[in-house]
């Protein structure tokens, strides 16, 4: 049994109104790769920021090699031998690799730099750890994967014994991911410990020795890789024991509003993200898309909203071809889209609440006449929305930025739902919201279903999906693993589908495509 390098005891970290971490206990052994697994917002990064001295925990103790330590700033962490590679690299692009590595360190020949010696040392450790980097290259000439290696070298140069990698694969291509994993595994042979933050099950299974699952800031479980399976992990990541129940009246779905045939699309790295997806949604029906984040759900929603081109396939709304139309054309077909990223897409944060609410209808009569915005009709409409959607703001002139997250989402809802849409695409509409705001959003979704809207609900929260959906589609690596009515779904089955080990041939006929370890 190897020794314990780092031990966290009862760590608690809160931000105004939000508990990021609570009662977290964690042990990292020397020479292990330890994965921190959890959905976005589960508290993985904030926990590691506590370790690295970016945040200070409100409560709890940190032990390093058995001794209690107080880490007030990153420098303390680096001094102990902790290195962190952030999701966004902390490199200076016009400088060389060597210059970046020694940045901030005292030189042996103050006040002069000792570039030659540093370069030699970098070359040596690059060779030793199989980190293929040219010390003289400028950062901006390097591909992302190599830049990441520079970040790792930087930590090693500072004699790190523990390396924290925050979602290191998010920016890499599959080839680079394989390369990175090889490097990380070889690092552990030199006695280094690695904490690997991820929400991707297959990567966690491929790389780590032990896995700690976080949910809502708390540790769900710590397991060894040999004793777990992807579907168990998936369930632990998203499942919740307590279900909030909503009144969901029975109703017969009407005619088909949205039909999607063989849609495919690329992500921002130009890799296939959505692969040959087909489904349809009827009036008064909620089709929920379940899946671990980053399996193409966001891209699918963007294709439907006209924000992302589809590379093949057909998209019909009301039977009319809407493939690769502009967002404007699609919204004029009475489609609403609630994007997952409220701060960068859903809202103009520097615009007022009023301007955001009117943002998708300002060009229509009666809000505009001859290109001039009509104050009074706009004001009436906005006042109506503010009271109907219970937006807590002192004035409609307040900038959206100054509202709380829940109220910001209510502004988005007001704009999207008050138009009485026929089709609603809701992507992670409750993400980052507290319980009451979440409940409010979900009630609005059910109300819209009652009004006869067809709803595509993308969520990584299974509880939400179970309580809202009429049918559930599970996405894995850009494909739909199956669509089934909510009555036929259970956590075990969904977990397997989300982990990619089970695919439905048709409703109710599971086909096993991978080896199920059978652990429940």
């Amino acid at each position: 049994m190897s020794s314990i390098l780092l031990r966290l005891e009862k760590i608690r970290k809160t931000f105004p109104g939000v508990i990021a971490n609570d009662d977290v206990n964690l042990e990292i052994r020397t020479g292990e790769i330890h994965a921190l697994l959890g959905e976005n917002g589960a508290g993985k990064t904030s926990l590691m920021n506590c370790v690295y001295g970016i945040y200070r925990p409100d409560y709890g103790k940190i032990y390093w090699k058995g001794k209690e330590v107080h880490i007030h700033q990153s420098r303390d962490a680096i001094g102990l031998g902790i290195g962190m590679v952030h999701q966004h690299f902390m490199l200076v692009p016009p400088l060389t690799v060597t210059e970046n590595v020694i940045l901030g360190l005292p030189s042996a020949r103050e006040p002069f730099l000792n570039l030659a010696e540093a370069e030699a040392k970098i070359r040596a450790s690059a060779k030793r750890f199989h980190l293929d980097v040219d010390p003289k290259a400028k950062i901006w000439d390097l591909p992302v994967g190599v830049q990441q290696r520079v970040e790792i070298l930087k930590a090693l140069y500072r004699q790190a014994e523990l390396l924290i990698l925050d979602e290191p694969t998010a920016v890499l291509t599959p080839g680079e991911v394989a390369e990175l994993f090889k490097v990380l595994k070889s690092l552990t042979e030199f006695g280094l410990s690695i904490i690997f933050i991820s929400h991707k099950l297959d990567e966690v299974m491929a790389l780590s020795d032990r896995i700690t699952i976080l949910r809502n800031g708390r540790v769900v479980d710590t397991v060894t890789k040999e004793n777990t399976s992807p579907n168990e992990l998936a369930r632990k990541m998203v499942g919740r024991e307590v279900f909030l129940k909503f009144q969901k009246p029975e109703q017969q779905p009407g005619d088909v509003i949205l039909s999607v045939e063989n849609i495919s699309a690329l992500d921002n790295r130009r890799l296939p993200a959505v692969k040959n997806i087909s489904f349809s949604i009827r009036r008064g029906e909620i089709l929920a898309v379940a899946g671990v984040d980053g399996n193409g759900q966001t891209e699918l929603a963007e294709v439907l909203a006209g924000m992302r081109p589809s590379i093949n396939g057909k998209l019909r709304i009301h039977g009319v071809d809407a493939t690769n139309q502009s967002p404007h054309k699609i919204l004029k077909m009475n489609v609403s889209y609630i994007p997952p990223d409220r701060q960068h897409v859903g809202l103009l944060m520097d615009f007022s609440v009023r301007e955001n609410i009117i943002g998708k209808s300002f060009w229509e009569k009666p809000y505009t006449r001859g290109g001039v915005l009509q104050k009074r009709p706009i004001q009436q409409y906005v006042d109506h929305c503010i009271s109907k959607y219970d937006i807590r703001t002192t004035s409609p002139n307040l900038k959206a930025r100054l509202l709380s997250g829940g109220n910001q989402q209510k502004v988005v809802l007001a704009r999207e739902l008050s138009r009485k849409p026929d089709l609603i695409i809701a992507s992670q509409a409750t993400r980052g919201l507290d319980i009451s705001a979440t409940e409010y959003v979900n009630q609005q979704m059910l109300a819209a279903r009652q009004d006869g809207a067809a709803i595509l609900l993308i969520s990584s929260d299974l509880e939400e999906i179970f309580s809202l959906a009429d049918r559930i589609a599970v996405m894995y690596k850009g494909e739909i693993m199956g669509i089934l009515p909510v009555q036929n779904a259970d956590l075990h089955l969904l977990g397997e589908m989300m982990a990619g080990v089970r695919r439905l041939k048709s409703i109710g006929e599971p086909e096993i495509i991978g080896e199920d370890t059978g652990k429940v």
């Binding site: 931000f15 105004p16 109104g17 939000v18 990021a20 976005n40 917002g41 589960a42 508290g43 993985k44 990064t45 904030s46 945040y55 999701q87 966004h88 979602e167 998010a170 920016v171 921002n268 790295r269 993200a273 984040d293 980053g294 966001t298 909203a305 924000m307 967002p327 404007h328 919204l331 889209y337 997952p340 990223d341 701060q343 960068h344 897409v345 859903g346 103009l348 944060m349 520097d350 615009f351 301007e355 943002g359 998708k360 300002f362 060009w363 505009t368 290109g371 001039v372 915005l373 703001t393 002192t394 004035s395 002139n397 307040l398 900038k399 930025r401 100054l402 997250g405 993400r431 980052g432």
Partner: protein, 418 residues
């Protein structure tokens, strides 16, 4: 808890509303204060110097006329930069657009000199606006279609236009009085063929913008005040001819731009794209079309600056006829906090400094260059003011990001953000 939050919200609202005019005024006052120390170090009395500066800018009809003449083009170029910046099109090309605008006004004036004055004014203003817009068209198209940085393209096009301008001043313009063989080139060039110097002919006097002198000499006022002594004194002042309709049109332009930006769909789209193109696209706004239209409006405003200078004050073009007024639109817009009303205040500040500088040097011995120091300090303070404003804005989302721990952006999206 609730009341505390609403009080906070109200305070923030008040700040964001009033800072539009408050920051420029505070920045200007701060600049005078610090410059006062400099004047003391120089060995002069700052009060004396500022009094002289004030009287040089506003002390007499003549000085007011100079101030107004100086500030008018700055209003238009300041508005051009403001509109562009607000819509995410950072227009550094106001200088060239202004020169091209002036060129076309003079071209209309000397080519159609037999037209009635009002028609020349009208067509001249139209031509100046169109040619300014034309100068901004290519950068607009390149940014919209290819994502090419407009700072570079607008800046470089300045030199193209100014070279064209200089060339045009050296090519004879077609003249009916002279019996020569005119070619197509002579229809483009603007040099007064009757003179050896690189300057154009004057545009007909009938097309000069009406001045206060012509208004007061009208039948209405002369019969109203007849030969009252003070009236005779006033009317005889030569400065009156230099106080024209141009600054009034500048004031109108401020209100029009304010209206376009905040009360029309065109302005709504422009500001939305300026704030966040991705969110604007999501809301159904055609980003490319908006960028081009914003470029055109911004360019047209700068072109109008040239028209005002020609129609209101110089009436002809000469080399360097209005050097740097285009580039100065940038600091004017910055001190004005990118708000049309603020641009009015800061253009007045710039105009007054230029007009009063000489008198300050003569009376108090402080060199005219001090006005550039004051100007620079005001820019510094205004920019500092903006950043205070901005950090206030930025602080909050940073906290919020922590709150949700990057829940808003999936890692894939972050790649494009970076």
């Amino acid at each position: 808890m609730k009341t505390a939050e609403s009080l906070q919200q109200t305070w923030r609202l008040f700040l964001s509303r009033s800072s539009n005019l408050l920051i420029p005024i505070l920045a200007i006052l701060g600049a005078f204060l610090i410059s006062g120390l400099l004047i003391i170090a120089w060995g002069s009395n700052p009060l004396e110097a500022y009094t002289a500066l004030w009287s040089g800018a506003f002390g007499s009809l003549a000085s007011i006329a100079t101030t107004l003449t100086r500030l008018t083009p700055l209003i238009f170029t300041g508005l051009a930069v403001t509109y562009g910046y607000r819509s995410g099109f950072f227009n550094i090309g106001a200088e060239g657009q202004l020169y091209l605008g002036a060129y076309s006004v003079v071209w209309i004036g000397v080519t159609f000199s037999d037209w009635p004055g009002w028609l020349i004014i009208l067509m001249g203003i139209l031509a100046a606006g169109l040619s300014g817009a034309f100068a901004a068209l290519l950068p607009g198209l390149l940014k919209a279609g290819r994502g090419i940085n407009e700072v570079l393209t607008t800046l470089l096009i300045n030199y193209l236009i100014i070279q064209f301008f200089e060339w045009g001043l050296r090519v004879d313009h077609v003249s009916k009085e002279l019996d020569q063989k005119w070619t197509i080139i002579n229809w483009i060039g603007l040099k007064d063929a009757a003179q050896p110097y690189p300057k154009s002919a004057l545009i007909p006097e009938s097309s000069w913008l009406p001045s206060l002198s012509s208004v007061l000499n009208s039948e209405f006022f002369t019969t109203l005040f007849g030969d009252a002594g003070w009236f005779q004194n006033l009317v005889s002042s030569p400065a009156l001819t230099r106080i024209t309709l141009a600054p009034v049109l500048g004031l109108v332009a401020i209100l029009v731009v304010y209206f376009i930006l905040f009360r029309t769909t065109v302005g709504f789209r422009a500001r939305a794209v300026g704030v966040n193109p991705e969110a604007a696209r999501y809301m159904g706004i055609d980003i490319n079309r908006t960028i081009v239209s914003s470029a055109l409006i911004s360019g047209a405003l700068a072109g109008l600056a040239g028209a005002m200078e020609i129609l209101g004050s110089q009436h002809r073009i000469i080399p360097n006829f209005l050097l740097n007024a285009g580039f100065e639109g940038i600091p004017v817009a910055m001190i004005g906090q990118l708000n049309p009303l603020g641009v009015g205040v800061s253009a007045l500040f710039f105009g007054a400094l230029r007009a009063g500088a000489n008198r300050m040097q003569i009376i108090s011995g402080v060199p005219t260059h001090l006005v550039f120091v004051i100007q620079a300090l005001a820019i510094l303070f205004a920019v500092a003011g903006t950043t205070i404003h901005l950090t206030k804005k930025k602080l909050r989302p940073r906290i919020e990001n922590h709150r949700h721990e990057n829940t808003q952006v999936s890692p894939e999206d972050k790649v494009t953000d970076a």
